[in-house]
């Protein structure tokens, strides 16, 4: 009985101490939820996002305001239901106040209703859909760090007009999925505004095996420019079949796919002359940020550091996730290391840094998102197996678009 009483007293003394210790430990950690596509259809996006986030936390030193940064990765499996579950788990069970990810548009849209339950500070380094803008653009806790689809077409139309001159004709091929249908109205708007005449608009099925009927129709209208509003898999098929058909359209324009190594490897000689848009491409030169030179290094130094770590050249999502994470960490630091989304959001809004993908500063987007950063896109062209940058002026490495080459 005496022994039992002693144990009880010891336990009653110990429990509060243990609890106090664990509370202190909890307070010494800043938790960031990272719902990303680590498997499934969008695994290449999620894997790149994870690399960018990991590298940012590591270079930051693993701590912010002396508190350990704990990134809670959740695999969305590229599946909407898994996305809802992951968001709910992070926001309701883990009670995270900061989220970064996902990348793919469908996953971001799937996570949106779950996010509304707590409205944590949400950095979205992907999702080109203006639907996100319509649904949540006015939310003060949403920080979008990737251009919406309309920025692609504004930059493409401007750069083509600037370099090719007026009076050119455009044929558009768009896929019947959300991607193609969503991009079409913006392509129509900005190309028409810049004085291009749209002479054909042809629908293709996403995942189709044969595009020849569409290409034959386009051949008949003899456009100056072919614009392909499709995703990467269809982009590969389109590029190959355009080449095989010898369409003889001088200028071939895609969206994001011409920058991807997988597209380049899969299309071989057919890639020559294709124009694309991106937020980052190798060869872009940016100076280090004067205030945060260790985080936002000179672009060459950053590429070297990334390549050393991952044994591969960074792609746009790697860089985008990296700079977005760094900006979030700086904001948490500037807010005094508090786990308070309002204070951190206020600091994030104040940030103005020079990054490898341009100015990192949040301001309203063209379509009304309150917090939009990195809206500028780069227009590039595949020339002799490398990238020439044609827009904007600051990054230009070539002054004219080359015509697509068709074999013999």
């Amino acid at each position: 009985m005496k022994l039992f009483r002693s144990c009880l007293i010891a336990a009653s003394l110990l429990v509060p101490a243990v609890l106090a210790n664990s509370t202190a430990q909890a307070e010494d950690v800043i938790k960031i939820g990272a719902p990303v596509e680590i498997s499934g259809k969008f695994v290449s996006y999620g894997a790149a996002a994870k690399r960018g986030i990991e590298m940012a936390v590591d270079i930051y030193g693993g701590k912010v305001a002396n508190k350990k940064i704990e990134v809670l990765y959740r695999d969305l499996q590229s599946d909407p239901q898994a996305t809802v579950n992951s968001f709910t788990q992070l926001l309701v069970e883990e009670k995270v106040n900061f989220l970064i990810g996902p990348i793919a548009t469908p996953m971001t849209m799937a996570g949106l209703p779950a996010w509304r339950r707590t409205k944590a500070l949400w950095v979205v380094p992907g999702a080109t859909t203006p639907l996100l803008e319509e649904e949540a653009g006015k939310e003060p806790m949403l920080f979008h760090t990737f251009p919406y689809a309309y920025y692609y077409h504004r930059a493409l139309a401007r750069s083509l007009k600037e370099k090719l001159g007026p009076g050119k004709t455009v044929a558009i091929i768009y896929s019947d999925d959300a991607y193609g249908r969503e991009h079409l109205p913006y392509a129509q708007k900005y190309f028409t505004e810049e004085g291009f005449k749209i002479v054909a608009e042809e629908l293709v099925r996403a995942g189709a095996t044969d595009l020849n009927p569409v290409l034959a129709k386009i051949r008949r209208v003899k456009p100056d420019i072919l614009l392909g509003l499709v995703q990467t898999t269809d982009g590969i098929l389109l590029t190959k079949q355009v080449y095989v058909q010898r369409l003889n359209i001088p200028y071939l324009v895609g969206t994001a796919y011409p920058q991807l190594k997988q597209w380049q490897d899969a299309t071989a000689e057919a890639q020559e002359g294709w124009v694309g848009v991106t937020t980052y491409i190798n060869g872009m030169k940016a100076k280090a940020d004067p205030k945060y030179p260790k985080l936002f290094m000179d672009s060459d130094a950053w590429v070297a550091e990334f390549t050393k770590r991952y044994n591969r050249v960074p792609e746009f999502i790697d860089v985008g996730a990296y700079v977005s994470t760094c900006m979030l960490l700086i904001a948490i630091e500037n807010a005094g290391g508090v786990d308070d989304k309002e204070k951190v959001a206020a600091e994030l809004k104040k940030l103005d840094v020079q990054t490898m993908i341009g100015r990192g500063h949040f301001e309203p987007s063209l379509g009304g998102t309150l917090n939009q950063a990195f809206a500028d896109v780069v227009v590039h062209q595949r020339v002799k197996g490398a990238d020439a940058i044609l827009y904007p002026k600051d990054f230009e490495t070539a002054d004219k678009f080359e015509q697509a080459s068709y074999a013999k």
Binding site: G40, R205, D210, N212, T232, V244, D265
Partner: protein, 294 residues
């Protein structure tokens, strides 16, 4: 108009060849074992990856690696049957469906883990080449090769089924397994053999698809759906019916794609609608017997 008609004809034929490749292995396996192999599309995908790695790693052209890929596919299919399907061959059909569906999911996810979701493609020179028959009529060399190989595969398969001892045994099992068993044919061995052969055709198809379509771990499902539609149309257990079904679907899709505004968006839907009409008129498919026996 003549040029357009000729181009529709050429494209229909070439697409029909591709569709035949996608479906013929599935048809063979079903004809003998009466199991619809929902993992067939993923077996095609593994063939495409094998050809891709042979091309990139060893610089072997997909048309050369095709034989080895088919042989490996055949062995893999045989083992897969022996280790899994053989154990539930007498079970209810739903168990077989669930098992092959599950195998397909496992194969797909293993591919994602091994090779990520990145798109790939082999890039032999003929995949980028074409001939102009006239100013308007173009024949893509890669598709022509696929068409020729489809014809070769079908002829060889039919010849094997007709004239070889094993082929005749396979047909006997397909027509009446009880009678075949009474005649001393090892029915289960024939099942395993035809499943292996079906997988060999599947992986060979993958090797050909490697230069026609983007290779991803997810390429199998659309191929399966298309192949499934074709074998239903042609008659589930008939190789010739499968060929007819493939060309029927290809011609319908191509014609709609060329002649109807925004036609390629409609092509698949209209083609499947025609499939339903054919099945209403002839529920066993064009040359099938499944359903008549029941």
């Amino acid at each position: 108009m003549l040029g357009l008609t000729l181009q529709i004809l050429v494209d229909s034929l070439l697409l029909g060849g591709v569709y035949t490749l996608m479906a013929v292995g599935l048809s063979l396996a079903f004809g003998v074992t009466r199991i619809i192999n929902f993992a067939h599309g993923d077996i095609v995908m593994y063939g495409a990856y094998a050809a891709f790695f042979a091309f990139v790693g060893l610089n072997v052209d997909p048309l050369l690696s095709l034989l080895l890929v088919a042989a490996l596919g055949g062995i893999g299919g045989y083992l897969l049957f022996k280790l899994t399907l053989d154990r539930i061959i007498e079970s209810a059909g739903i168990n077989q469906v669930l098992l092959t569906f599950g195998i397909g999911l496992v194969l797909q996810n293993v591919a994602v883990i091994l090779w990520t979701g990145d798109e790939r493609s082999t890039t032999p020179s003929y995949a980028f080449d074409s001939w102009f028959l006239t100013d308007d009529v173009i024949v893509a060399k890669g598709r022509l090769i696929a068409f020729i190989l489809a014809a070769v595969f079908v002829v060889l398969l039919l010849a094997w089924l007709r004239w070889s001892e094993l082929g005749r045994a396979t047909r006997a099992v397909s027509q009446n397994r009880a009678a075949a068993s009474l005649m001393g044919i090892n029915v289960r061995a024939m099942y395993a053999l035809s499943f292996g052969l079906s997988s060999a055709l599947g992986t060979a198809t993958g090797a050909i698809m490697s230069f026609l379509l983007p290779i991803t771990p997810f390429m199998g499902f659309p191929i399966l759906v298309k192949a499934f539609a074709i074998i239903i149309l042609g008659g589930l257990d008939s190789v010739i019916g499968t060929v007819i079904g493939a060309f029927f679907l290809a011609t319908a899709e191509t014609t709609i794609g060329y002649l109807v505004p925004q036609g390629i968006g409609w092509a698949e839907g209209v083609a499947f609608f025609l499939l339903v009409l054919v099945l209403i008129a002839r529920p066993t498919g064009i040359l099938g017997t499944v359903g008549r026996e029941a």
